[in-house]
């Protein structure tokens, strides 16, 4: 079975500072990896996903993530955050298989200070 661990439940950052949100996964088979963002009182929205190929994945709103198979990590980064990035961020994993459900991490709340 797959699992996802988001090590930080909250990450406070000053505006225009860089940020990294950590995600580690465990799986005995190949996986696909995702980052979703949930703005206050809204549903989730896909930021980016890793399916195969280049380990550095670029997403919307200036975010990127790097797949590291040896460290089983998929950390999310942004070089300079904005107030509008305040949200909950979820890392997720699914197997390379049909009828496979997505497993979400527990989420990281990113709060941006002016």
């Amino acid at each position: 079975a797959q699992s996802v661990t988001q090590l930080d439940s909250q990450v406070p950052v000053f505006e225009e500072a860089p940020v990294e949100l950590r995600c580690n996964y465990s799986s005995s088979v190949s996986v696909y990896l995702f980052w979703y963002v949930q703005y206050p009182n809204q549903g989730l929205q896909l930021l980016l996903k890793y399916l195969s190929g280049s380990t550095l994945v670029k997403g919307i709103n200036g975010f990127e993530a790097e797949f590291n198979k040896s460290q089983t990590s998929f950390h999310l980064r942004k070089p300079s955050v904005h107030i509008s990035d305040t949200a909950e961020y979820f890392c997720a994993v699914t197997r390379h298989s049909s009828a496979s459900k997505i497993i979400f991490g527990s989420g990281t709340r990113l709060s941006i200070r002016p």
Binding site: G43, K49, L51, E88, F90, T94, A99, S100, K101, S106
Partner: protein, 117 residues
């Protein structure tokens, strides 16, 4: 135009009641999902339908019964509501080239906040 819509947005009801939440998507997707998000923001899949056929059925009480009249709709009916059912319920859809594979981006509705008193 809203891609995935849910009604109602808020639902407050008493223990023991039966209630339904409706979900509709206008994206032409083949697969739809129901998720439950608890007070700690933990998100867990409950059900998944592909072309009106149930493909994922997690371990949820049988008081929860999804119904898909057509591939654009997936409703959730809950019988005998309990305090522990209080949560935000999200509907989502995906193109689903591989049924329920999760490879395709999932589009989420705005959520229904259910409060059981």
């Amino acid at each position: 135009d809203t891609a995935v819509s849910q009604t109602p947005k808020y639902l407050v009801t008493q223990m023991g009641n039966d209630k339904s939440i409706k979900c509709e998507q206008n994206l032409g997707h083949d697969t739809m999902y129901w998720y439950k998000q608890d007070s700690k923001k933990f998100l867990k899949i409950m059900f998944s339908y592909n072309n009106k056929e149930l493909i994922i059925n997690e371990t949820v009480p049988n008081r929860f019964s999804p119904k898909s009249p057509d591939k654009a709709h997936l409703n959730l009916h809950i019988n005998s509501l309990e305090l522990g059912d209080s949560a935000v319920y999200f509907c989502a859809s995906s193109q689903g080239a591989l049924a329920g594979s999760g490879v395709d981006e999932q589009y989420f509705g705005p959520g229904t906040r259910l409060t059981v008193t």
